[in-house]
Amino acid sequence: MREFSVVGKDIPRPDAWLKATGKAVYTDDIKLPGMLYGKLLRSPLPHARIVNIDVSKAQALPGVKCVITGQDIPKVKYGNWRLFPATQDEYALAIDKVRFVGDEVAAVAAIDPDIAAEALQLIEVEYEELPPVFDIESALKEGAPVIHEESPNNVSVTRKIEYGDVEEGFSKADYVREDTFTVHAVSHAYLEPCSTVAQCDLDGRITLWTSTQTPYIIQCLLASTLEMRENDVRVIKPYVGGGFGGKMELRPWEFCAAFMAKLTGRPVKFTLTREEELATGRRRHPMVIYSKVGFKKDGTLVAKDLKISLDGGGYNSMGPTATFLCGNFGAMLYRYPNYRFFGQHVYTNKPPAGAMRGFGAPQSLFATETQMNMAAEELGIDPIELRIKNAMVEGDVIPDVATISSCGFIDSLKEAARMSNWKKKRKSLAPGEGIGVGCYSFISGGVFNWFNTQYPFSAAEVRVFSDGTAHLLTMASDIGQGSDTALKQILAEELGLEMKDIRVTSADTAVTPQADLGTWGSRVTLMAGNAVIDAAKKIKEKLFGAVSARFNLNVIYDMECKGGRVYAKGRPDRGMSFGEAVAMVQKAQRGEPLVARGYYTPRGKGLVTPAFSFGAQVAHVAVDQETGKVEVKKIWTAHDCGTVINPMAAEGQLEGSIHMALGYALSEQFVMDKGKTLNTTFLDYKIPAAMDMPQSKSAIVDTYEPEGPMGAKEVGEGLVSPTAPAIAEAVYHATGYRCKDLPITPEKILKGLRDTKKRKRKRS
């Protein structure tokens, strides 16, 4: 293994200080002279035709500067799948119909937020109510209300994957099981609600500060919906308080802020309330997952048939990608010689589901992993042994999808078993306690280009200076995950500099090099990291040339940048400081600064991703047999994320994943009544609190990903998947209640306990 100086070290993030002391500037902190405050009028009905909107009273309210409806805006639909315009199904403001409670109908900009709120109440909308549908089954019924004319059966996207011969596989199976799982919607619950500020300059160009994961995507889609040229729109991402997939699309307030800034000539800000976020915001897809798996007696997997219906809500949002990915995740972790997947994305009259941490994996893997645990029991094989028997290994080929270029799955399983003392605890826990396992595999960025970018997937510009410093410019977006720090570490390592020598400018579409697809799918470290290395290598070639000339080095000498110096490898005296080397190059170029650009686009990497991460997790729970309440006592995690760039940040990702998955498994859900979300505050939307967090112990399995920057790959997103199935198995181990329908609530457990007792009584 290569020795690193900066990479692999615990580096505290510089932004942590700013955030902890309240100095970091988020979008809502931005105040511009003459700025107006925007508010959105949302549909109170789940499904209705808009007959008429009268804004005259709102317009007449003193302090109101602008009111717009769907009639006022260009009729341009948007959506992230630009390559397939038929999937773009949303207008910034509803034009003909509303499709969920919260659908945006009109927008107001006023001199203060209270006036804007008052004006909303003066807008009169006449609706003609249409029959709504709220679940997949009703939406698919013959004669169900049609939500989008373009999809008469309410199915907007389907996807198939098939390899091997599934029927023949099952015919050879000794043991086949079929199960249907249902999983529910949860909120990203990022602590910074969505916020945006738009300014229009005298030439009519737009600058948009916005809380986003994808500045480049916002730039492109905003330009098209405003019918402007891409380069006339500048998107800047200030500090962002989390996204988790919920901030990667153009959203109505971004469009409305820009559109109204153009109309009024004044800056316009929108900041959503928590109630708006919870009542109408994007959420994780609910799914109905039918899965059939076949095994040999000895536990060898022979076939899998997976059918998933996604409850997409009123619009596609990121649903097409989720439909694609949940089928791919269904094929991961184990060697399925025969595999078939059918996925369909179904419209319902609920707030649209979008991308959320794991992007199809938490749902799909809940089914995979629960079914593995059920099969292990019936086959009489230890669940971890059954997994090891079928585990993917390095070099495995998933037909049409990828070759697994690095894989520490078996080591993760063994390490998780060792750390948790699995064998002993499985047999000898106190009554009411249980232990269970769940696993994950995840992508390190997508190789698909449904956005149809005309640029490389990631880009970096590196400028170096004779004072020994460097400046990294990248469109990669740090939304709290720490990419500014990680990319700085990669550059420092490559150039042999220290963290303090490097300045980073990121995520400004007018300043940083084109382009970057944004922060999602765990793509940034691998893709932007590779772009940084590409740029740094070009810089180094120039520096090596100058030093080589200065010392008249034999051309066979290898050279390196290390410890702030540039020198011949093995002959450190034949060299000079980094700054001196830069000065020499600059002199040789007669003043032209030393600048290089690097790019990365995955090519020849199959259909899904250049690299996969793997991991295993064990959960230990105690269940109160009278109240049905679950206490998660401890979680052990062993994971394979390639070279770890910043162990401290990786640990933070793990803690955050456990927190998010704990809520998914046990306490978080939307309480809905006829399409209306009832629990719209953190009092009643039950995110686990600090006191609910279990102890956690983790180990990182040593692997090296050849496609990753310095061997790195995904960390922290895949980790959100194993926890729910591990807890579900531990609850089963403790109580005999098997959860196939998330979340695992006390009521379900108590009912399960009663059923178990009844079964036992019958048997005896």
Partner: protein, 291 residues
């Protein structure tokens, strides 16, 4: 939403506060910590023209104990102060515990026990244990003071027996009888920091092996906190055996009138009343026997 506009007055004596309340009637709202009031105002649920802040009335911050009179908790005593008060912890541990389990650290350092009572949420953490101790409220008005048993104070969710010009000065908790124990139990969706979906307090007084007195108070299972009188009747004068505790717990569950809402279903609440009543009685018995 921001706060709507309102006037703020801060009287320096109870008398002055009562006079203001008398004058303004329903247009005024009293504020102790404001942790419920201001939220309701932000959500538009309350629109008082005037807020009468009690912060300047020093005597209301008091927590005091006298052997013959018992414990007095002033209207401005913070939840955290009650939770950590040595006398409260020693003599009224269930009162201290309920205060310590209310909301979060930040809110406990703003909000008050009496405010939690006057907010009159059916799920209020601090009401059941105080009711179990037989607490009374001391209510001031321009014409003098009156006392009312805490259990007679509530009319419905958010509604209390207060007349125009009246102000709750504090809560008076009688000295705990010999051989008594009081326990507070609650359950919520999250493990610790959460609003109660069901809460129960039980008080028992054991004299020569028999239950001389018993109170069972149920919260969040009716429009107001209620006594489970028939369940109490099953225990009064009897030996407090495990089996009778179980029976009383089941009876209490029958007396509850829970609804289904986003925090729990009525079925689950009913089941939990039995579980929590049993646990409260068991703990109260243990405390009584140890006293």
């Amino acid at each position: 939403m921001g706060l709507p506009k309102f006037n703020y007055v801060a009287p320096e004596t109870v008398q002055e506060a009562c006079q203001i309340l008398e004058k303004l009637g329903g247009q005024a709202k009293v504020m102790a910590g404001g942790t419920d009031l201001l939220i309701k105002m932000k959500h538009g649920a309350l629109r008082p023209k005037t807020i009468v802040g009690l912060r300047k009335i020093k005597e209301l911050r008091k927590i005091s104990f006298r052997k013959n009179q018992g414990l007095f908790i002033g209207a401005m005593a913070l939840l955290e102060e009650v939770a950590s008060h040595p006398k409260v912890k020693k003599l009224y541990p269930a009162v201290a515990y309920a205060a310590s389990q209310t909301a979060t650290v930040q809110i406990r350092n703003m909000g008050t026990v009496v405010g939690n009572i006057c907010n009159a949420a059916p799920s209020a953490d601090n009401i059941p244990s105080l009711m179990a101790f037989g607490a009374e409220l001391i209510i001031a008005s321009p014409n003098g003071e009156r006392r009312i048993l805490l259990e007679n104070f509530f009319k419905g969710p958010g509604e209390v027996n207060l007349n125009r010009g009246e102000l709750v000065k504090g809560v008076l908790v009688p000295p705990p009888p010999e051989g008594s124990g009081v326990s507070y139990q609650f359950i919520s969706q999250r493990s610790k920091v959460d609003i109660a979906a069901v809460c129960v307090a039980a008080m028992v007084v054991i004299d020569k092996g028999r239950t001389r007195d018993v109170k069972i108070v149920l919260g969040a299972v009716a429009p107001t906190p209620i006594r489970a009188l028939e369940a109490e009747g099953l225990l009064r004068g009897k030996k407090l055996a495990d089996r009778s505790i179980q029976k009383a717990a089941e009876q209490a569950s029958q007396e509850a009138r829970p609804i289904t809402d986003m925090r729990a279903t009525s079925e689950y609440r009913r089941l939990m009343v039995a579980v929590l009543t049993k646990r409260a009685l068991l703990e109260a018995r243990q405390m009584a026997l140890a006293s």
